[in-house]
Symmetry: C2
Subunit: 391 residues, 2 copies
Amino acid sequence: MRKVAVIGTGHTDFGFNSPKTGLELFCEAATEAMQEAKIQPGDVQALFCGNALSDFSEGQIMIQSYIADSIGCHNIPASRFEAACASATVAIRDAAMWVASGFYDIVIVGGMEKATAMGTALATRTFAMGTDARYEFPTGFTFPGFFGLLTNLYITKYRVPFEKLREQMSLVSVQSHFYGMKNSHAQFKKEITVDQVKNSFMVASPLTLLDCCPFSDGAAALVIASEDKAKDLCDKPVYITGTGQASSGMLSSQYKDIPRLKARDISVKQAYDMAGVGPEDIDICELHDCFSIASIIAAESMGFAEFGKGGELWEKEEARIGGKIPINISGGLKSKGHPIGATGASQTVEIVKQLRGDLVDEGRQVEGARVGLVDTLGGDGIVCNLVLKSE
Amino acid sequence: MRKVAVIGTGHTDFGFNSPKTGLELFCEAATEAMQEAKIQPGDVQALFCGNALSDFSEGQIMIQSYIADSIGCHNIPASRFEAACASATVAIRDAAMWVASGFYDIVIVGGMEKATAMGTALATRTFAMGTDARYEFPTGFTFPGFFGLLTNLYITKYRVPFEKLREQMSLVSVQSHFYGMKNSHAQFKKEITVDQVKNSFMVASPLTLLDCCPFSDGAAALVIASEDKAKDLCDKPVYITGTGQASSGMLSSQYKDIPRLKARDISVKQAYDMAGVGPEDIDICELHDCFSIASIIAAESMGFAEFGKGGELWEKEEARIGGKIPINISGGLKSKGHPIGATGASQTVEIVKQLRGDLVDEGRQVEGARVGLVDTLGGDGIVCNLVLKSE
């Protein structure tokens, strides 16, 4: 199959209570991506859209066809993907296949969410539709609850003292806010301390408010093209060289490997194998830090640390610029924000910018980064990974 | 790219107030499809799921990963597509690409809806999220309203006397019920008359109740495989030889060609061109008859009749078995039922059965059918077409 390149990126500000509609947010990101790629709407052959909650938040399904029309790409095929938080990453993996296969040469893919207007409490309930609706949600199994339980399981399984893990988790959030300060699109641009994380109010024991990412509005988009088109149009194409996707079992309560997520083990291996790389080759990673503990378990499955020792990456400053594996230098979901359906596209935009060396001015460039990894977790069920490489 | 074959089909009963959950419905159809294909869950490499409203109806997003697990296909990639009524057809087109490209050899694709428990009035409002939520829905633009207006526009544009079109529309519904009587999975198994259609209560002028398809619960699924696998596993593979997909403009009120849908003109041409066929080659067609007028306008764009004369196909019995182009011999959405996210998969299952000659016992086999066409309209925005061929 053909090589597939990202030739343009777009990213809105992420934040609470955006005055823009979901349609407007996606169009802003897509238009920026088309401008960066120096293409016209008429060059775009298809649209792939990740979105989770536009029906609940704005009473709109089928938004993909309205987006296509609004950005001037009249009558093109437009498909919507829903995989909770992983919606956009799944859309990107799919879009890359359509280009790799030779069917399309230039497509737009992105994600969008406009979910904060309903307020955090209702958004938490609404988004809990991503857990099993028959047995688990009725027990109070929202996502903070799921990750709170998982933290306790982590302590038991790996015999990590609570105080040690508590410190490591705090350092995850502190680092995210440190880099989020430097990200012009981030939702939270303020530094926080370890003590503030520990002492913020309890959401789902032992997770405090500052262990949790926020709900956000926002969008991100990419123009994806075949290698030939990319070489014509773009000085610094970044290639999508590996992709992976896997699902977890049905009931979280029946996962055998928890707190390890088998779906991530499978997905990231697919992506590594397809790209011909291993964890030692990754220069920069954006991973799914919906909660501080989520960063730690994700880093382990991706091979950046032994199981039970993921937190040491943050404790020893190995996840910072200059460390062994810079992680979430965007500020991550925690500080940059987490517009559910947009997150995978935002992570991918960030990796592309890092691999192009675009982030020097923001003071958060990982020098010489050549290979990047995207990791997105959808609900408690779907993991999708992408490996990207600069030339 | 490789040839792609359907090697197994599954189809639940369609009906109102199914006692089964959406998950159970999809699993029933998928299990039947795997049995027919003589494959095991471990042979399936990915799942593609069309669904529109499981969040509103059952409080469940991400249902695709639960489906994969429940049918024994643990940890495989599972993607959900939402394109309103066209959700499953878009999923099939996408699944076919993954197999054609060589990435996967055997996948399951299908669609499901469990939407009737909310009642028809609320379902109508909920499903109206498939129209523009900002400007058009607030004016009362539910789908019966859209197609009612479109009927009036049809009369004006093509100068067809109302009484003549009224008779033709009635004959569309009468034919659907005639064949639905013979479909073991159909929701309505009763004959109706032209007078009953005309005199049933007015829903959205001039559309009466019997011009309108029902809301339904149900699922349908297919096993799709590469040509090599198909030849190993299957005596009568049916090939997906052409696919098309296109979007309409944003606001229905701004469509220039209405009542003709430009998206259908584009989509069906793509499918015909890719398959190397034209309308004269189609032996059997399942088209999107959400309302009786919808059948007439769809038949015209697919090239089965001149614009303004589509109704004559039903008037002259050309859309029946033995006629020029047998249409909706399943009973169509009108009589078979319309579980939104399942409809495209149901249409495709029907065409596959016709091309395999499986429907002799049900008394509705189109003898010698070799080439079939699927046509699905999602909301007022997306059209997706598939051309299928037997060997």
